[in-house]
Each structure stands twice: as C-alpha cells, then as structure tokens.
Symmetry: C2
Subunit: 202 residues, 2 copies
C-alpha cells in the first residue's frame, strides 16, 4: 500500500536527518525533528532545553530522576506522580500521534516507529553507518575535532539506545523493529533516499 | 561501486532463500545455500547430515560437543584439537572465500556476511518478517500445522542466533552487521528483490 508517514531512527552522524529532509522536499511534506521539542515545550510549559535533554535521552540515574521530580513537586502533589522524563515521553506520544493523524510527514527520532507501530500506512526506517564515516561526517558539518566528534557520537547513541529500550522494551537498531535498515556509509545518501522513495510510493 | 557478491542472512520462514533464488536467476549467477554443505562434506569426509546439523547451528551443550569430539578421536589424536563444530565452521569459511573469489554469486546463511566483511564488492542483506507471516509461509510451503511451524521457526532461529554470535561475536539480526535489512512480510518479496537489485547494479 502507499505509505503516508516515514519515521526515521538514526545513529548520530549517519545523515538520517539529511535523508529525511530530502524525502520531505521530494514529496512536499513536512519533516518533524526538533520541531516536536517546541510542540511538547509549548504543551507542557517547560523550556525547550529541558525537553531536548530529556526527550530522547536517558540519564540512567535514579538520583537524577529523583532530583528532577522534586523540582517539579507541583506535578507530583497534584497527583500526577510520574517522572519528568515520563511526562515528556507521554506528551511526545500525543504530539506524534496527532501529527500522523493530521498529515503525511517525515518524523525523525523519538521512538516514532514504536509509537506508530499499529499504522499500516507508516514505513519505519533505521539509518546507520560505521563510526569512522560518522566521525568524518560530523567533523565536516561542525567545527570540531575527530576526538570531540567520537565522544559526542558515542554519548548520543548510548543515550538514545537507553531511552528507546526503556520506553519500548526493544533493542535500538535491532532490524526487527524497522521495515528497512540502511547503511548510509556504504549505500550513500542518494541511494538511501531513492530506496525509501520507492517504498513510500508503493 | 557495482557489487559482485550478495550474502543473504534470513530468519526462518522469511523467504530469504526465495529472494536469493530470484536474484540469482535475474543476474544469471549461482546461488549457494545447502550446496555449501555438500562442498564441506566432500572436503572433510563427513556426511551431509552432520554438516547440516552443525554447520549453521549451535547445540550450546558442552556435553554434546564433547561427545562429537570423542567420536572424532582421530582428528583430535592427529593434533587438530578443535571441536567438530569449529572444524566445520573453518571449512565453511574456506569454501565461502573460494566461491567469492571465483565468481559473482548469492550466498545464503552461514555467517557469509561476516566471513566476507572485508570485501567492498559484497552486499550484505538480512531478511526478516513477523512471526505470524513466517508461520503462514511455512505452513503453506510444507504439510505442517501452525504449531509445528511455530516450534520449528523458534528453534531454528535460536540455533542460528547462537551460532552467529559464537563465531562473529555480534548479534544476529542487529542492523549494524548488514548493509541492508528488509521486512519481507511488510515490503513483499518482489520489492525486496528490486531493492537489492538496484544496489547490486550500483
């Protein structure tokens, strides 16, 4: 069947966002990535910085979660006894479902593949590449050293993997969670785009 | 670059072999799956049944390995003090490398993606599908009940996953091990074939 939604999960530096942008441009549909942060921030009344730090990451520290809970004592006292992390996640779930209901679009990250898993009009993609390719890509895109890029990638991917596993009970990057997984380093960005295009068009 | 070798790893019942057959026919190249068993059997002097049981599977039982070793005391006494499983694996490695050197081909299973990982002319594919799709496929192809198909699939995949992890130190089905992972249940066999074709042709 013809697809409506493309979700893109991606390793840091694998060009997943660029692939999403190209697809969105090709089909004349919106792409939602950091835009989801603004939507959740607006809905929940938190700053975008808090949402970004907690919206796709896990600290893995109970103490950190506890501190955050205490700093939002109002929420707890009002009976909504869930962590800030959970609160943001459930708000993201709501926003992502509303976006998917509303229009054809590309959604990057934020467990969208899992959140929309019941939709037959959704194609779930995972983009990855080897570490050297990603370090090169990141140093070219940003004014950072190879060592800084390596540290950033490892830290970002670890956080995403923890976050994904925590909310979905599945392994981030396991092929079974996606309809299509592509190595952008070997296949190239344009080939990845054309493969996803051919599936999107049915 | 134009590719020469296609390796296909596949979940049981996901039509990975059929996809491989269609690609081989399309490109007029041979496909090696159980044929590798005959080659290894011929080289090592074991029966095809032994090679098949040990060539892509792990029993996970030290006792089983020990019994097999004892029954091949000659091999041990001659100084080749490795398990039958290892002996078969290393023979498969040799056969698979020779096949890849010799000609363009499709190779199904047997850790071929890992064995040929240094070759830039090799495209590594993993085919998977959800369990219900695979049970349906297996009951249609064979005269077995759904319950028999379910048991067969779970047992076969478990053995393949252990075997792959033992020899590669990597998780079977993790997208990072392959250039391309496809859900044949959602995408359909023909779409999987056409995507792999488009990559093979460069």
């Amino acid at each position: 069947m013809k697809k409506k939604i493309i979700t893109i999960s991606r390793e840091c530096g694998s060009s997943g966002h660029i692939i999403g942008q190209k697809l969105a441009k090709e089909f004349g549909i919106p792409i939602y990535d950091k835009e989801i942060i603004s939507m959740v921030a607006k809905e929940k009344g938190y700053t975008e910085e808090i949402i970004e730090n907690k919206g796709e990451h896990m600290t893995g520290s109970l103490l950190f979660n506890l501190v955050n809970n205490l700093s939002h004592a109002n929420s707890i006292l009002s009976g909504n006894n869930i962590s800030l992390q959970d609160e943001i996640y459930f708000s993201q779930v709501k926003v992502i479902r509303e976006l998917a209901d509303k229009e054809a679009c590309v959604i990057v990250g934020r467990c969208a593949d899992y959140i929309l898993k019941e939709r037959p009009d959704c194609i779930n993609v995972f983009i990855h590449a080897n570490l050297d390719f990603r370090i090169k890509h990141l140093t070219q895109q940003n004014n950072i050293t190879e060592e800084e890029a390596r540290k950033h990638i490892i830290s970002k991917d670890k956080a995403r993997a923890y976050h994904y596993q925590y909310y979905t009970d599945k392994k981030w990057g396991n092929s079974k969670n996606y309809h299509l997984c592509l190595d952008s380093g070997v296949l190239g960005i344009e080939k990845c785009v054309s493969i996803i295009e051919s599936i999107y068009l049915g």
